[in-house]
Subunit: 171 residues, 2 copies
């Protein structure tokens, strides 16, 4: 049986949901990053990822300008960084520096990888598609990385964050 | 520290990932459904969902033809249905009937809701965007439903399915 409810109420139960940091270079200044939760795979061959970013976001503008970005899957232990990453804008400050975020250069080097993330995908921007109050950025994965030693993905359980374990262990 | 690996290897650790059934009406026959794992929210206002469907899928063709579909979040207990739903095609048989899937009509009635799902969103198709070997179908949520009594979302842990619980309980 189903009960009709407002969309927001039904969506409030969508969790667990992915948590990623999107990073991008800035031709006129320091690279920037932002957290995002709306992300999915959207092609196997070539491997592609889609992430929806709100209009007017500084990182979104940098991705569009440079045509390159990285999607970093948040890792266990990054709770605080996720919370703090929304408190300042890269338009005003060097956000990576202010928040003391350690980065690694990646393979292609156009967008930094964020240390502590579980996995990271350097992407070439292939499409920017309008979708309501966000744009969907579609990137082709051109280099992929995993944390070493391994780190569990941190996922969103609805405003709080944890690695996820199956309720029913694999039989 | 990061280690560069093939994209497929890094993506193998993407889980947990959503699991949904996409349903669509068929002007010339019975409605159909298919499982999908690549789904995300892509707008708050209006509420919109995006789902990536492979080229040539029968359900994808029906969505494109009718301009309407429903996204049903799989519910705990639907393991078997997910597995079986890939074994026959709606091109050949009445898949809902053959697999004995109980449905509910929803509010707008254009695409059936699948009983046992945790939540369901009736959507008007707003965009179909190419992305590699899939298309991204963007739907505006026009009616939303939750299971009553409540059902936990079933998510994909990498070829096996379970509800997800936080590894670290909320403090």
């Amino acid at each position: 049986m189903f009960k009709q409810v407002p969309a927001a109420e039904a969506l409030a139960g969508k969790y667990p949901e992915w948590l990623v940091f999107v990073t991008a270079a800035n031709p006129d200044g320091p690279p920037n990053f932002m957290p995002a939760g709306w992300c999915m795979v959207c092609s196997s061959e070539p491997p592609m990822l889609a992430v929806a970013l709100g209009h007017g976001r500084h990182t979104a503008a940098l991705v569009q300008r440079t045509g390159e970005f990285a999607i970093n899957f948040c890792g266990e232990g990054q709770h605080d960084l996720i919370t703090r990453s929304g408190t300042v804008s890269g338009r005003d400050v060097n956000k990576l520096e202010v928040l003391r975020v350690a980065t690694a250069p990646g393979k292609l080097g156009f967008a930094p990888l964020i240390s502590g993330c579980a996995r990271a995908f350097e992407c070439k921007l292939r499409h920017v598609y309008p979708s309501g109050d966000h744009n969907i950025f579609v990137g082709e994965v051109v280099a992929a990385h995993i944390a070493e030693p391994a780190v569990s993905n941190l996922v969103n359980f609805g405003g709080w964050y944890s690695a996820a374990t199956p309720a029913t262990p694999r039989s």
